[in-house]
């Protein structure tokens, strides 16, 4: 018994060592950085311990802009992409012919490089001296006014950003949901059919509860993923996100470390901790909600 326990720990040891070096130590380091006031990267000195870094970050307009952008992104893209993925998966699982073709088509963006997708979006949306971008051509075709989606008004840029994010996260969600739908035993549907259950009722009372664990998994990971968005913004709007007004929290952290205004690890650490607190809170709320509904649904 005792030996077994020692053996178990021994098996875990390599993983624990790596976790300690690459997870625990940096985490503690971040905590320390975030508390050291007026830390100077070159001389490795600081003037005191306190909350000044947090106060700075929270009053930095760039950070507030990044916070706002990230929240908008999360609130719009997570429900939208999950809902869309559910609709598409339902469609996919109810057709027989060409199903595999459609499944492949929907999965393509998943295996395509972020920057390549970003390039495609540029072509679709960017206004250059030579062309207005495909989307603008369409808008004009229907009598609208051309919009500069990449360097234009905030709403237009946000729209592109959300569109892009939904597009990128959709394939994985569709993949998860189609397999979740396929794993529901068909006898449930046959029983419901014999009993004359209307389609909508089958969906809400049988299908949804049956796939709800997967839905919650997607929502939680979706939230976390959207909060960590960064490379998507770079792919669309270039590296100077602050100037574009399209920075995200992770982008802000990156800029504080390595950007033109970089060399402020303390501010970066403070921002990272704020992000951590937000993600933690949202995840806990999500878990509580999913537990509650799971029990009700059980």
């Amino acid at each position: 018994m005792k030996f077994d326990k020692i053996k178990a720990w021994l098996y875990l040891l390599p993983a624990l060592v790596f976790l300690a070096i690459f997870m625990v130590y940096p985490l503690i380091d971040v905590l320390i950085y975030s508390a050291e006031e007026n830390y100077n990267f070159a001389s490795q000195t600081f003037t005191g311990i306190g909350s000044e870094n947090f106060l700075f970050v929270l009053s930095d307009p760039y950070f507030l802009q990044a916070l706002k952008n990230t929240f908008i992104l999360v609130i719009i893209t997570v429900p939208l992409s999950t809902g869309l993925a559910l609709l598409i998966s339902l469609g996919l699982s109810s057709i027989k012919t060409l199903r595999h073709l459609f499944q492949t088509v929907y999965f393509l963006p998943y295996v395509t490089n972020t920057l390549a997708v970003g390039l495609v979006f540029m072509i679709l949306f960017k206004k250059t001296p030579y062309s207005d971008g495909l989307v603008n051509v369409l808008i004009k075709l229907f009598g609208g006014e051309a919009v500069d989606f990449i360097d234009g008004p905030y709403a237009a840029k946000m729209f592109v950003m959300c569109f892009y994010t939904v597009w990128v996260v959709l394939p994985f969600k569709i993949l998860v949901l189609t397999s979740a739908l396929a794993s529901v035993n068909t006898d449930y549907y046959r029983a419901a059919k014999v009993d004359g259950t209307p389609k909508w009722r089958i969906f809400t009372r049988i299908t949804l509860p049956m796939i709800s664990p997967m839905l919650f998994y997607l929502i939680i990971t979706g939230f976390i993923g959207a909060f960590k968005a960064y490379s998507d913004a770079v792919a669309l709007f270039g590296t100077n996100l602050n100037e574009a007004g399209m920075n995200t929290i992770v982008g802000y952290i990156y800029d504080m470390l390595y950007g033109d205004s970089g060399g402020y690890p303390s501010y970066a650490a403070a921002a990272a901790l704020i992000l951590f607190a937000i993600v933690l809170t949202i995840t806990v709320i999500n878990l509580i909600v999913s537990k509650k509904t799971a029990i009700n649904a059980k």
Partner: protein, 371 residues
């Protein structure tokens, strides 16, 4: 409600993409299921029992033929308009709903003129729960119950909407042996109490024989024989039916008819009058053999197995084509067993079949082997 099937046929596109031929799951079903009876639809796995049941329920549409409930043609009717209750092998209870919610579920689908009030629904649920004896389990989730209890709930759910026909697809297959016995009696009782026309699908002949008023034996999509269990057992139309029914199974031998006498190997079994010459297949039920010094069938003893009241004598015979010869005899008779023994054959338990087609060859035995 009697069910009439007329030329009912169902073809499936083969799941094997290379095979061009469609799978004939149900072939030309042409019979009547009498009102208020419990019918056992019996056959080996993959013979089309579920498909036949699904055709009756409306979950599958026939390739050809018609289905009548009473005088009404229901062939083109959707399942919900046929008034059938269905029970599945894996119960198909909604795992996230309580027993009460599961049983109420079909009632909530009723449309306007038939819509039930809350009280009516509760009353119905309580009534069926009492009928299947699960009224104490109404607030449980399916996962908190045994398989037998879950199957009762499934039956209750099927009965709640007061169907005209009850269809059960291998309802006992997921239960352990003891529960299976118990639950099948339960099904019989419930059927008696409700008087519902019930079709019960199973691959277990004992199950079907024990509770059915009438059994339909199927093989590869085709009906082999229809009748009361005892009649089918005593008077099988072909070798398949004879071997499929009965535990232990019937003993099958290669035999021949020569000059009005039936031989198994060099043993003359009996004088027979059937107008056939040459090779035949011989079936003898285990209870048709008794050990006797004046016996006609010579065998080598393998073992004697005591099974409570009766004893099973296992023996070898070189003309046997079934696994090992078994005779079910009284314990007194079993005491006569010795290494080289002879069996007397009861002509009522002896069947002759065409060696090629397996069809039954009727015959009348001379007194010689009666006994």
């Amino acid at each position: 409600m009697k069910i009439v099937l007329k030329g009912l046929t169902k073809l499936f596109k083969s799941r094997n993409k290379d095979a061009k031929e469609p799978v004939v799951a149900v072939k030309n079903f042409d019979f009547e299921i009498p009102d208020g009876k419990l019918i056992g639809l019996l056959g080996p796995s993959g013979c089309g029992k579920s498909t036949a049941l699904n055709l009756i329920s409306g979950l599958e549409t026939p390739t050809e033929g018609k289905i009548f409930f009473g005088d009404e043609d229901v062939t083109d009717l959707q399942p919900e308009f046929r008034g059938v209750g269905m029970v599945f092998q894996n119960y198909a209870l909604y795992p996230h709903l309580t027993v009460r919610q599961n049983i109420t579920f079909p009632l909530e689908n009723f449309k306007k003129p038939n819509k039930l009030t809350k009280e009516q629904k509760e009353e119905r649920v309580l009534n069926v729960a009492k009928l299947v004896e699960i009224e104490d389990l109404l607030e449980r989730k399916p996962s908190e119950m045994s398989g037998g209890q879950q199957q009762r709930v499934a039956i209750a759910r099927a009965l709640a909407k007061q169907p005209k026909v009850l269809l059960l697809d291998e309802p006992l297959s997921n239960l352990d042996a003891r529960l299976r016995l118990q639950t099948r009696e339960e099904i019989r009782r419930i059927q008696r109490e409700t008087g519902l026309t019930t079709v019960f699908v199973t691959h277990d002949q004992e199950e079907a024989m024990s509770i059915s008023d009438m059994i339909i034996v199927m093989k590869k999509g085709e009906v082999q024989q229809i009748g009361a269990p005892q009649d089918v057992y005593d008077d099988p139309t072909n070798l398949f039916v004879a071997t499929f029914l009965g535990t232990p199974p019937i003993n099958v031998f290669d035999g021949r008819i020569d000059g009005g006498a039936l031989y198994i190997g060099s043993d003359k079994i009996s004088d027979v009058d059937c107008g056939v010459q040459g090779k035949v297949t011989v079936g003898i039920r285990p209870e048709g053999l008794t050990i006797s010094d004046e016996g006609v069938l010579n065998c080598a003893l393998k073992s004697v197995e005591v099974m409570g009241r009766d004893t099973s004598v296992v023996a070898l015979n070189e003309n046997l084509t079934s696994q090992a010869l078994r005779a079910i005899v009284s314990s007194e008779n079993a005491r006569l067993a010795k290494p080289d023994l002879t069996f007397k054959v009861n002509a009522d338990k002896l069947f002759l079949f065409d060696a090629e087609s397996g069809l039954r060859i009727p015959f009348s035995a001379k007194d010689a082997c009666k006994g």
